[in-house]
Subunit: 103 residues, 2 copies
């Protein structure tokens, strides 16, 4: 399992209608084959400057690559992500191997 996450901050000038359009477009990414457990998230911690997140899971690196290269994802990045997002950090996780000696 690969969990792909991105935490981000919208540009200051984005109003609530633009924010809504952005998340409606983002939610459509969940329909790309291979995307599992798609989540739109609000970043509520006070120890960073991001205010939203997206999280999704893939069964394999191949399915993650298929998503990344999918025309719907490429179009989302061009038409919604780049115009709307000021700053972001991508963090991708795999489950940690069981601690040796503990299994």
């Amino acid at each position: 399992m690969i969990r792909h996450t991105v935490v981000f901050k919208l540009k200051d000038q984005i109003d609530s209608l633009q924010e809504q359009a952005f998340f409606e477009a983002a939610l459509a990414l969940a329909a790309i084959p291979g995307v599992q457990k798609f989540e739109g998230l609000k970043q509520i911690g006070t120890k960073n400057n991001f205010n939203f997140g997206l999280s999704m899971e893939f069964d394999s690196a191949e399915k993650y690559a298929y998503y990344n290269n999918h025309p719907a994802h490429v179009q989302f990045v061009q038409e919604h992500w780049i115009p709307t997002v000021q700053d972001f950090l991508e963090i991708d996780y795999e489950p940690l191997e069981p601690v040796a000696g503990n299994s």
Copy 2:
């Protein structure tokens, strides 16, 4: 639901035995009351410099605060986190409200 996550990098001089001891100590945090879905994670993305993560969920801000102030957590921070971790970022999420007009 609050998902508390931290992505981090261990100090360069930490060897594999110390790394193992660190994660064994971290896994014990899962026993603090209120902690749900505790995960040890490997950060595999190439777009940041972190190499591990922890993720857990709480039903409420009160349970998150209980965890934060719990002696077992405080002790873990002093005895394992501070000596072992070089750099980290805490990211806390709540589910995004359903997009207005989409519900």
